[in-house]
């Protein structure tokens, strides 16, 4: 743009309409829409033409057909006579299971790591730093192979299982833990636990109101702990409820009874947690460091204790920085769970987009459904995190 000697901008010269930036803008946008639309149409038409040429059809009727293969680890009843739709749900639930457990564990470990890296203790900070740098720079797939194959190799055979008090057994087939078998009266203990939790919330609200009104503190944590432990325990004793344990037993080739945690599941959860936690740790660290020192100094000068300073001043502000990138970590963790296919964990990609696709030969439908699932997961996680973010975001007054 022309600038005269006095440094002022010259008035824009009159231009032809095709040089008008606004018109040009519209033109390019329209062009882009046309190109993208044309590409989609061309791909779709090409796909249909080629499918017809190969004598294939599109449709979701195959979902009602018998799958004919078995799956080792399912959360819902499944057998070889189940349908492809059942395979889809088995895979979906397994993916959800792994993702949810890993998200919770990775968040806990991640917050711990983030805080440890900021620790004034030199050793703690350095150990955390080395762990983070080491772990996040190795590809996740490789880590999964290490957790799966390296750990599997050193585990004992079934008949030489490690046993913890003859209750828990660890071997090459996984970890076998006793499963609780509650009797009818046990429901009262659960009711007592629910009441205790509600009571704890009430105590906390009451204590906060009192603190704000009178400035007197109340030992909330100890009280809550006492309520949550004592009330259910007392109910258990009084009602005489019984919680039997179904202990795994070695019969034939393997342990039966109890809960079986296969190595594929453990390796996948372990790998995802350890890997994602490093990223969450860095996000937490940056979030805390983003809160200016003045904030905690101001809190200190108000006489707030160390715990309150963190809880009331630093963390709420840090959360604004932490939440958005944390959301994308959750999303990538969910998507990374598909790597479980490499170590034989029957999640969605492995059994639906892998085995089912191969047996049914419905590539477009199955890949489409699988993509839709991950898209839906991602949108739901984003939605939840955005709602939470809106709550913690800076409220302008």
């Amino acid at each position: 743009m022309a600038v005269d000697t006095a440094g002022r901008l010259a008035p824009p010269p009159r231009t032809a309409f095709f040089n008008d930036p606004v018109i040009r803008g519209y033109f390019y946008q329209a062009l882009l829409v046309l190109i993208v639309g044309g590409l989609v149409y061309w791909l779709g038409a090409n796909a249909i033409a080629n499918l017809t040429a190969q004598g294939k059809s599109l449709g979701f009727d195959f979902l009602r057909n018998t799958a004919g293969f078995d799956i080792a680890y399912t959360l819902i009843p499944y057998s070889r006579t189940s349908t492809y739709l059942d395979v889809f749900f088995v895979g979906l639930l397994n993916t959800l299971l792994v993702s949810l457990i890993s998200i919770v564990l990775a968040t806990l470990l991640g917050f711990f790591l983030g805080i440890a890296r900021l620790s004034p203790n030199w050793l703690v900070a350095k150990v955390a730093a080395i762990y983070v740098e080491f772990t996040r720079n190795i590809p996740l797939l490789l880590q999964l192979f290490i957790w799966y194959f390296a750990v599997l190799k050193v585990m004992p055979a079934v008949k030489q299982s490690y046993s913890l008090g003859d209750m828990v057994f660890i071997n090459q087939r996984g970890v076998f833990i006793p499963s609780p078998v509650p009797d009818d009266k046990f429901v009262w203990v659960v009711v007592a636990l629910v009441i205790a939790v509600l009571a704890s919330i009430a105590v906390r609200i009451w204590a906060k109101t009192r603190l704000e009104a009178t400035g007197q503190r109340f030992p909330v944590f100890l009280t809550v702990l006492a309520i949550v432990i004592a009330l259910p325990a007392l109910t258990w004793l009084v009602t005489g409820a019984n919680l039997a344990l179904d202990v795994p037993k070695l019969t034939g080739f393997n342990f039966r009874g109890g809960i079986d945690l296969p190595p594929e599941l453990l390796a996948l959860i372990f790998g995802l947690t350890i890997y994602t936690a490093t990223f969450i740790g860095e996000i937490v660290r940056s979030g805390i460091e983003a809160v200016s020192r003045g904030q905690s100094e101001a809190a200190q000068s108000l006489g707030l204790r160390e715990g309150d300073r963190l809880r009331l001043v630093v963390i709420p502000q840090a959360m604004r920085v932490i939440i958005p990138p944390l959301t994308s970590e959750y999303l990538s963790l969910t998507k990374n769970s598909s790597l479980g296919a490499a170590i034989a964990f029957p999640e969605l990609v492995s059994i639906f987009s892998g085995t089912a696709l191969n047996q049914a030969g419905r590539a477009i439908e199955i890949v489409g459904m699988t993509m839709a699932v991950y898209l839906t997961f991602s949108l739901i996680v984003s939605l939840i995190m955005n709602i939470y973010n809106a709550r913690v975001a800076l409220v302008e007054r």
Partner: protein
């Protein structure tokens, strides 16, 4: 040119095929100068690369026979390793011209995948491999066992059928790739490894101590391992099919890689037709008159291929069994070349 590249990239990415529409695989191959052959990731006896990336095996030799028929050169072929899961897409997308990859011929595959099975290069059946110290002598004792399987195979379905038919429980651990499946079995994740019996024999030799493992006697399925091409290109289908038959026909008439030049002087009309001295059987397929001579010259006959890769001339040492020629009581049978 750029547009063509873009088309190729996008269709390959979608696993669709742009080549099926043109459907003249043979011309494409001639223009390209080599055959693109899809093989397995490494099945002893069927397709294994050596240290110099030179492939060998029964499946590999079939592709070399194709290359000999088209280019008079058994080396005019490039091999693409495929997993049991991605093999059909690799073929449909036109990345390979032919799949010679221990693939079982089934009706569903034949009628729904847009592919055609050319012929059974190896009649196989599914078996079980177990550790000797397990003390199992029959597959019927495997109730409750953990079984390592490669996913997306007929093996997976047969195992489900077999255990259900015999009212036995089992726990399948399915891996995407063969390497991981075998590794997990060797590391003790499973009691049993199951796949085609021929592959079991070869895989067993790859373990650290082969004698610790034993193949159980039961064969639980029919596994006709066949060569596969895309549906809708009959010319190419003919070339693929008659290349296979030429290998059988050569064995039947006693024409070998060593004596093929001598046989050119034979008075036997059958041999004269096979070697292109009487009549012209190559040109209608889009090949030369001496196509079958080139095949035998390049790789030998079926018997030679078999013995060299999986039979008596190999460490695997499988007997011909049902893979013998029909006149020796086996199933291998070629319609007459005339």
């Amino acid at each position: 040119m750029n547009k063509k590249l873009l088309t190729l990239a996008i269709t390959a990415a979608l696993g669709l095929t742009a080549t099926a529409a043109q459907a003249d695989t043979l011309s494409d191959i001639k223009q390209r100068g080599f055959v693109q052959c899809g093989v397995s990731e490494g099945t002893p006896g069927f397709a294994v690369p050596d240290a110099n990336n030179e492939w060998s095996g029964l499946d590999v030799d079939y592709c070399r026979a194709l290359a000999s028929a088209i280019f008079n050169d058994p080396k005019a072929v490039r091999f693409t390793p495929t997993t049991s899961e991605n093999r059909w897409q690799t073929l449909s997308a036109g990345e390979v011209d032919v799949l010679s990859r221990t693939s079982t011929w089934t009706m569903t595959r034949d009628t729904t995948l847009g592919i055609k099975f050319v012929g059974t290069t190896y009649y196989d059946g599914q078996g079980f491999l177990v550790r000797k110290d397990l003390g199992v002598t029959s597959a019927l004792e495997l109730g409750g066992a953990t079984v390592c399987i490669e996913s997306g195979t007929t093996t997976e379905l047969n195992a489900a059928d077999y255990f259900a038919a015999n009212s036995m429980e089992y726990s399948p651990v399915t891996f995407v790739s063969q390497d991981e499946t075998l590794k997990a079995f060797e590391d003790g994740r499973c009691d049993v490894f199951t796949t085609d019996a021929s592959a079991l024999a070869g895989n067993r030799l790859d373990f650290a101590v082969p004698d610790d493992y034993v193949v159980l006697p039961e064969i639980i399925s029919k596994e006709p391992l066949a060569v596969v091409v895309r549906q809708g290109d009959d010319m190419w289908f003919n070339v693929a099919r008659w290349t296979y038959y030429a290998l059988l026909e050569a064995e039947e008439s006693g024409v070998t890689q060593a004596n093929v030049d001598e046989m050119l002087g034979s008075d036997n009309p059958g041999i004269k037709r096979l070697l292109g001295l009487e009549g012209d059987f190559g040109t209608p397929m889009g090949l030369t008159k001496d196509w079958a001579y080139q095949i035998v010259k390049g790789v030998g006959n079926y018997s030679e291929i078999f013995e060299r890769n999986v039979g008596s001339g190999s460490p695997i040492g499988i007997a011909r069994g049902i893979n013998a020629l029909w006149k020796d009581g086996g199933l291998q049978y070629s319609p007459p070349i005339r």
